[in-house]
Symmetry: C2
Subunit: 503 residues, 2 copies
């Protein structure tokens, strides 16, 4: 009866595709909310997103889907290995979705929109008291969500699972401790090195228009498909959408041009992952990114490993200089390299350098863990934030807004357990990068020639086109010959910064 | 048992509100498709819109909604007059929706997206053969739709009913003949008048950026709420969304600045209608525009009756001149008045003047009528278009693209029977305008002072806030003391152009 199993498989994937279509609608609504929506549209948009989530959840969690999954699982022999992987991932999503009561799904969606909307205004005014009541409601609902999912150990584990399957607070803590042990002393040595960049971007004005134009030119030249994507402006930079329509956003600071520049390259890294999925798997888990950590490995690889490297700027720095005219005159490519790899203790995560960035993440990770364990409450966040900031980064945030506890969009949108995937992305990228160098001995020369085809092909082959077919460790084992570890990442950081700063 | 009827009414309107929320999502997706979406996103967007239409249709046409309507109708005595009107309109929508098979709804939505997408490319290449196959499919599906709805007389009547309840080919033909009888000879006299504008916008460049900035300043000064709306760019200008989030679009021609300028004022007229609905009726028919003809009466009133009048430009022309710097120097406000009211036989509807505009509409209306009666087929469209154009406007279209049969978006989106509402809007505006002048003797002085509060209040009171509470004729009877007729419109045209051109 192999044909019956096949028919069930087709019916199941068709239903999953519909679910993904609804997800895609939600993605457009979210993008629009952050890029276009006028202020008074917030209430209506919250209703739209809530109703859509409810409908999507209701349809996906129907008993019929459960029956089809069971049928497909019992007929595994009739399916290919890729199809079995699809069924496995659908079953995982179904199991997680059915654990959450329908009303909670709708309520969470609505509260996310409302909290996000208040955040944009409270952040502007640096008024945490304005933000706190809506954040409290969101945390309470998210705790209900964690309980519904169930977890071992601490509640945050249930939330992390949504972003990084198979990770846990314990596992992440171990990796992050290894990272801290190397980056803290290394950053100290870099900051105290006599070699330092001689630059002052502040004194010139780099217009947003010129920044945007150069950024666009760059990503299209690297290989981002402009027929299937675009670049816009939003308060918090992000990448959304998928194959055929990938949307990147950034924000411009006219006296700090590297922020948007590397922000754009970063989001392009996410975008290339989305554009690199296998088209024939469209609408199923096999066309979805493996995890947020894997996603972040792609953005950080393009932003830092490639984007902040000398070969890259040997190619593009002359273009950048001529694009901006006088604003960069007198700065050599070596000065530029020191400028874009300048290390300092700073207040804002998205402006942090490659070396101190992980400390920003680890700080947030610990706060999330304690918040969901019930050790601290929402009203404690500003003081806990500030004291951790002093401890880890030696700085006192001057306010609770853009330079303090409300700087990030994540918590306002209910994305708790998301932050650790940033640091994990750095670690994964390090491991992939080492293998890419071994597999492609002329890679750096090609980067210097502006030829990214081989790199893109490698990433598509070993990461992008696989989607959720393998677990993170399986994928890394196939691609690099070993499971996830921090060794390659930490060697890369040590070598790069020792060489740049002549340590 | 009055309380039971009330409970049914609350339940019914809650379901209708959900339907409107889904409609609102569709509106964002459509807007995005025309303003932002990259080309390769078309297929995915078509799937999104089709699935959304299907879900909305399925939920709205459920038996439960039918039962609630019946309950509310039988308990009419327990409801207020406004509530009874709401039930009447919901019943109308339900009846129309349940007549269409679910599969046809989904198929029509998908085909609309596909045909629209092909149209954007075929229009660019002026390649009707590229467009025809997808248009044929859309016409065939739309004919099925008309049959499902049922009609008296010709199939187009079933389609018109979606845009202009209570109108028919026969009724419209009568009105349009009255219009033609006056405007054709009047246009002839204007074209032959010795008084003519002395202007040549072509020789200067009016940057899109300056046009946009002035247009935005203007609409916010008139009273368009920028906290609940925005202005963007698209191939075909439109207004979408509703209270809280009204979106206007336009397009810029840097050598014909009046196109975008009056386009923006026109769309603002639509937007003011949407922003003027009664907030407490949100999500029900009472918060929806009465008909497209009534909608168009608002856009044409602001664009032509107010926007192309001398009092308006006595206020704004100095601002316009200083905004553009040298580009308008040497042109007096009287020259400007002749320039913006210049009459000529032209190829493109959206660039047509106030006087010949109706001829563009009548031509399309006749083609739609014959296409749906089966007297002509899709492949005949270019030749029928061209021969009617020669007959009514004395011009031979040079191509089938932007200056020919593919110039308008409407047919590509399946909006057949929509065009006559433009001419109807002109006629309705004429009737309202006459009464506004009688009710507000100092209105023109107030326009000259840039004070639009009284006008907006009149329109909100007599049109905007009523939504679909009354029929078109009931509304006009209440507002102007008589049912719809062409007399006031034709007097207005005759007086305006006789005076301007000293006939």
């Amino acid at each position: 009866m192999a044909t019956d199993y096949r028919k069930s498989y087709e019916e199941l994937t068709e239903r999953v595709r519909q679910h993904q279509v609804l997800d895609g609608i939600g993605s457009v609504l979210h993008w629009d909310m952050q890029v276009n929506m006028p202020p008074k549209g917030a209430h209506k948009r919250a209703n739209q997103l809530a109703l859509l989530s409810g409908i999507a959840h209701e349809r996906f969690t129907s008993e019929k889907v459960g029956e089809l999954i069971q049928l497909c699982e019992s007929g595994n022999g009739a399916l290919s290995e890729a199809e079995r992987a699809n069924v496995r991932e659908i079953a995982r999503d179904y199991s997680r979705a059915t654990k959450v009561p329908h009303d909670l799904v709708v309520e969470l969606s609505r509260q996310r929109s409302v909290t996000h909307d208040v955040w944009t205004r409270a952040r502007e005014k640096a008024d945490f008291a304005m933000f706190a009541p809506e954040l409290e409601k969101l945390v309470a609902l998210t705790k209900q969500y964690a309980e519904a999912q169930g977890y071992e150990g601490t509640p945050l584990n249930a939330l992390i699972e949504d972003y990084e399957p198979g990770a846990s607070v314990e596992f992440l803590t171990k990796l992050f401790n290894e990272v801290k042990a190397v980056t803290v002393p290394l950053a100290e040595r870099v900051v105290n090195s006599s070699v330092q960049a001689n630059f002052d971007f502040e004194k010139n004005r780099f217009t947003a228009e010129k920044q945007r134009a150069f950024g666009e030119e760059l990503i299209y030249e690297i290989g981002f498909d402009r027929q299937g994507g675009r670049l816009d402006t939003s308060i918090h930079p992000f990448c959304s959408g998928g194959l055929g329509d990938v949307r990147l956003t950034t924000r411009y600071n006219e006296h700090a041009p590297t922020q948007a520049l590397f922000g754009i390259i970063h989001e392009m890294g996410h975008g290339l992952y989305e554009q690199g999925v296998a088209p024939e798997t469209y609408g199923t888990p096999l066309s979805e990114a493996l995890s947020l950590g894997m996603h972040e490995s792609q953005s950080r690889m393009w932003e830092n490993y490639i984007g902040r490297s000398l070969p890259f700027w040997k190619k593009f720095y002359p273009k950048l200089q001529s694009h901006f005219g006088g604003e960069l005159s007198g700065m050599s490519v070596n000065d530029w390299m020191l400028a874009i790899n300048h290390v300092e203790r700073s207040l804002v995560r998205v402006e942090a350098d490659e070396l101190t960035y992980d400390l920003h993440i680890i700080l947030r990770f610990e706060i999330e863990r304690d918040l969901f364990a019930g050790d601290i409450s929402v009203s404690d966040l500003p003081s806990v934030w500030n004291s951790k900031f002093e401890k880890y980064l030696g700085l006192t945030p001057p306010n609770d807004g853009k330079e303090g506890v409300m700087q990030d969009v994540h918590w306002s949108g209910g994305s708790f357990g998301y932050f650790p995937t940033y640091c994990l992305g750095n670690i994964i990228a390090g491991q992939l990068w080492k293998k890419m160098n071994a597999d492609m001995p002329t890679m750096k020369q090609k980067i210097e020639n502006g030829d990214f085809a081989e790199i893109l092909a490698w990433l598509r082959e070993h990461v992008h086109k696989l989607g959720r077919r393998f677990s993170r460790d399986e994928l890394l084992l196939k691609a690099t010959g070993k499971p996830l570890g921090t060794e390659d990442y930490l060697s890369y950081l040590t070598e790069k910064f020792s060489s740049l700063y002549k340590l």
